[in-house]
């Protein structure tokens, strides 16, 4: 077996050193009835590289990849160009095959990029501090609510109906399992929510999204002020991180905690994971923040260096009193994010965000002109909700046969909600071409007739 270096001669010599006759003797503590007498029956045996690759390639061939068709999906996962150097660099063994930087002297590479990453996240979100990443945007959002409960010592979260449904569902799950109240509002692409009216003296936080799940842009400044006045925290979720290159960041609106899905920078679609949870907050809440944090310090020679810090919040020190049970972050995804954002820089990120917006404006204009179709948004970044004259899911299935990957029918998230059945969530990015847009417009026209 190509990954196992021991030879039979080695094994014999090692058993002799240990003083047992066979490896089975090392398993003496296993109850006899539970110890198999040989490899698990009914499973294939080991295979050469090329056979395994052939198997995996044959499975991959059953998919239609995003890049092989006109493609318009978003809804929390975005297809942006990832420069070739990003994937090359994250596959360097020193990054990929290291672990949590428990030994900082031999982990300065990981620690320095985490420090850069935290700075980038704080800058993008307009917040004071950020952690070293979490599993994904949705789970970070759940952690944010738990943090708000700790900070305010209250236990009722008001959740916007226009929060991504997976984020909402994670909050609802945490609410059920960890015993706080989640006041979930009804989704609507057009209604104006009055969340301020829902804040009471037991409200720990209000959770909103920008752009929201239907693509609408919001100014949450007034909501932030209401939260502050009533002692609740404002949590703003951002599912498309590229948007922050162009739109007002949550920090500038007065958010207390910002969670985001960082996948859109540096990371591919990967069928939904692994993704990159971003988590930023005001400095005064730092010691209630979940997750790993990297900090600057000095070494014995008085040189700048970096370490994991504030670990007194964490489970390996605090056990049942920890701020969160989380142990790992999304290290390698954070590295991809940091490298891509370093390549983009100020000029590149702005241009990228503007390009996304411009293409989406063009597409919205094109589709709004189709008979029976209506763009429901008054504002958007790179995603909008299109109302069709018939159920969106049917249309999407029909177009997939061409193949055109037309967008996300909202019925996939909200099955059975008749008000949303005809709505299609459509995204354009820098990768969307004029030909893609024309193909979608003409296919939609045909399908909606």
């Amino acid at each position: 077996m190509r990954y196992l270096p021991l030879t039979d001669k080695d094994r014999t010599a090692m058993l002799a050193k240990i003083g047992v006759a066979s490896v089975n003797d090392l398993f003496v503590d296993v109850p006899k009835a539970a110890h198999l007498d040989g490899p698990v029956k009914g499973l294939p045996l080991h295979q050469p590289e090329y056979e395994v690759e052939r198997h995996m390639a044959s499975l991959a061939a059953k998919n239609i990849t995003a890049g092989s068709a006109p493609f318009f999906l978003g809804a929390g996962a975005y297809r942006h160009h990832v420069p070739a150097s990003v994937d090359h660099l994250i596959q360097r063994g020193e990054f990929m095959t290291s672990y949590t930087p428990y030994q900082p002297e031999v982990s300065q590479g990981t620690l320095q990029y985490l420090f850069e990453f935290q700075t980038q996240v704080a800058l993008l979100t307009g917040m004071e501090v950020a952690n070293a990443s979490m599993y994904d945007g949705a789970s970070a959002c759940g952690e944010a609510v738990m943090m708000a409960n700790r900070v305010t010592r209250k236990n009722r979260a008001v959740v916007s109906g226009n929060l991504h449904p997976h984020y909402r569902d994670v909050i609802a799950t945490m609410s059920r399992m960890t015993d706080f109240v989640a006041d979930l509002q009804v989704p609507s692409p057009v209604a104006i929510e009055n969340l301020t009216a829902l804040i009471d003296d037991q409200t720990s936080c209000v959770v909103v999204q920008n752009p929201d799940v239907f693509g609408n842009l919001h100014d949450y400044s007034a909501l932030a002020a209401s939260c502050q006045a009533k002692g609740a925290l404002l949590i703003v979720a951002v599912t498309e991180i590229v948007s922050l290159g162009l739109i007002t960041p949550p920090g500038a609106m007065g958010a207390d905690i910002v969670v985001a899905e960082g996948q859109g920078i540096g990371n591919g679609l990967n069928f939904g994971g692994p993704y990159l949870g971003l988590f930023a907050c005001r400095e005064k809440y730092l010691r209630q923040m979940p997750g790993r944090v990297c900090g600057q310090t000095l070494d014995a020679d008085n040189r700048r260096g970096f370490v994991l810090t504030l670990s007194a919040r964490e489970q390996h020190i605090r056990r049942e009193k920890a701020t969160s049970n989380i142990c790992t972050n999304s290290g390698l995804c954070a590295l991809a994010f940091t490298i891509h954002l370093s390549l983009l820089g100020e000029a590149g990120l702005t241009r990228l965000a503007e390009t996304n917006h411009a293409k989406t404006c063009q597409l919205a204009d094109k589709l709004a002109a189709l008979p029976g179709c209506k763009v429901l948004n008054s504002s958007f970044f790179n995603e909008f909700t299109l109302e069709l004259p018939k159920p969106a899911e049917t249309v999407v299935e029909q177009l997939a046969k061409k193949p055109i990957l037309a967008g996300v029918p909202l019925s996939r998230f909200y099955p059975g909600d008749k008000a949303l059945a005809n709505l299609l969530l459509i995204t354009a990015t820098e990768l969307t071409t004029d030909a893609d847009m024309d193909a979608l417009a003409s296919a939609l026209k045909e399908a909606c007739q």
Binding site: M1, Y3, L4, P5, L6, R11, M14, F27, V30, P31, P39, V40, K41, G42, P44, H46, Q47, V52, K62, I64, L73, A77, R92, E94, Y99, E105, S107, T119, D136, D169, V170, T173, M177, G245, L246, A252, F271, G273, P274, L286, V293, G295, T297, A300, T309, E320, I326, C327, T328, G331, L332, L343, L344, E346, A347, D365, F381, F384, P403, L405
Partner: protein, 495 residues
């Protein structure tokens, strides 16, 4: 390692410089309303060659499995095959919300991996979506909580051995359970009598790691399982150490009801400097209906995701753990790894992992203090008794090991012994490497006893940084770069 100063990207900024080329922005009618960002973000401008050199140089400041022996106990730092990376990228360009007819291959990967995990554990069901071990623990205990609700029972306690990973009590506490800690006995196993005394009608579950964090197999596990079940509680196994028994022992045969598996440990998906991981949760028949959404089912029309509780039929999913469908990139890597090994290769994985650990134990027990008698499983545990009266600590030995070109073992964990050294070689290390490590450890142990205090306290000396001041970092946290706090490139006069 290259000992070269590498300024932060923010210190390499030239305004306007850019590492990507994008065409000019097409003409359009803006829909931003008045939501346009005012002022810049503050990101630095670098070109591609600068970025490539920067991160290449940073990488060279790290120890990784590719470059050094990395016996970090309980973390299973085994070789990460590059075939896994190649195959994962075959599934990289799929959107999670594509019509399911267009992602049949991806769903089949999830189904195939689930099939292998079920066969290898003997357990009938698996929740694939948890993103890491601790996330899996949350999922497993949530399943138990949901099952207890259906049973109409309010059980408030979870029994956790003192040797457990910190995530176990942290997870149980997050779910509102009270923790009942159980000490280890003289042999390094959970104190069976103490455990039995804690069992009662208010106990929801026991969380037991097996093989445990002392690197030992819990001999009484079958009896414990029976007692737990008799008390009406569930048996949660932390599967962090599944690597020791994969392919040789099926957890179902040990009476386990729930077990998470760290794909980044046993099944070799890269640790990536601290993630991403994946933590599928194996479930017994009685708990399977409560698994969270989404999950994959297979019927005449092909593979299909169940994404909503209302579509789950008679199942009662407790909720959702994360966005979308789980750590697909880890599933493809783990499946590639499993197919490469096959049933026979996995048998050998467990065999060699245990053999390597016992070889280390046997080769060091005369100069270091082994905490418990062998045989051990996949990792060997020592404590600091052998350093008594030397002024040298476990930490000092770890730092000195770094100067010998090894990543240190896990230190100060598990908590049940003093000054722990937890050494997990894994099966992908050669005898030559183990011999070199053993020689270094023996030499350090002897130098420690001979009183070379200064050498230890000065270590490490050959690394990009010497020992770092963690107290300073925590006392006045600097967690991001700021222009006003900027340092000169040499890093002198820092903070």
């Amino acid at each position: 390692m290259i000992d070269m100063e590498q300024p932060l990207i923010f210190e390499q900024d030239a305004p306007g410089r850019c590492g990507v080329d994008l065409p000019s922005v097409p003409a359009h009618k803006s829909r931003l309303g008045n939501r346009k960002r005012k002022g810049g973000v503050g990101l630095p401008g670098l070109s591609e060659p600068q970025v490539v050199r920067h991160y290449t140089r940073l990488s060279q400041k790290n120890y990784g499995i590719d470059s050094v022996f990395y016996p970090l106990g309980s973390c299973t730092m085994k070789h990460n095959p590059r075939l896994n990376e190649k195959c994962a990228r075959l599934f990289g360009d799929l959107h999670p919300m594509q019509p399911q007819s267009t992602v049949q291959g991806a769903l089949e990967v999830i189904d195939q991996l689930a099939g292998w995990l079920k066969t290898l554990t003997g357990m009938p069901s698996v929740a694939m979506s948890p993103a890491a071990g601790a996330h899996g623990e949350f999922c497993g205990l949530a399943v138990i909580k949901a099952a207890l609700e259906v049973r109409g029972e309010k059980r408030t306690k979870v029994i956790v051995p003192e040797s457990a990973h910190g995530t176990n009590p942290a997870t149980a506490a997050a779910l509102g359970f009270t923790i009942e800690a159980v000490p280890a006995d003289a042999t390094g196993r959970v104190d069976h009598a103490a455990l039995k005394a804690k069992l009662g009608p208010d106990v929801a579950a026991i969380m037991l790691t097996n093989p445990n964090t002392c690197g030992l197999f819990e001999r009484d596990i079958r009896t414990i399982a029976d007692e737990v079940h008799k008390a009406g509680a569930y048996f949660y196994c932390d599967g962090a150490n599944f690597n020791a028994i994969v392919g040789r022992v099926r957890p179902a045969d040990l009476g386990i009801d729930v077990m998470h598996i760290n794909l980044h440990k046993t099944f070799s998906t890269p640790h990536g400097g601290g993630g991403p991981g994946a933590g599928p949760v194996m479930l017994a028949e009685s708990l399977a209906p409560f698994a969270p959404v989404p999950y994959v089912v297979h019927d005449a029309k092909g593979f299909r995701l169940v994404e909503h509780a209302k579509d789950a039929g008679s199942n009662k999913p407790f909720g959702r753990m994360k966005g979308f469908h789980g750590q697909m990139g880890m599933f493809t890597r783990a499946l590639t790894y499993i197919l490469s090994h096959g049933a026979d290769g996995l048998w050998q994985v467990a065999s060699d992992a245990v053999l390597n650990a016992n070889y280390v134990l046997a080769s060091l027990k005369d100069v270091m203090s082994a905490s418990y008698d062998g045989p051990c499983m996949h990792e060997a545990l020592f404590d600091d008794r052998f350093l008594k009266d030397t002024e040298i600590t476990t930490l000092d030995i770890a730092k000195a090991l770094i100067d010998r070109g090894f990543h240190p073992m896990t230190m100060y964990f598990p908590l049940v012994v003093h000054g722990a050294f937890l050494i997990e070689p894994t099966e992908t290390e050669s005898k030559q490497t183990l011999d070199a490590f053993i020689a270094a450890m023996r030499d350090l142990a002897q130098k420690a006893k001979a009183g070379s205090v200064e050498m230890f306290k000065q270590a490490p000396r050959f690394t990009p940084r010497r020992r770092l001041d963690e107290t300073l970092a925590a006392r006045s946290p600097i967690l991001r770069w700021k222009l006003e706090e900027a340092l000169d490139v040499s890093g002198k006069n820092a903070a």
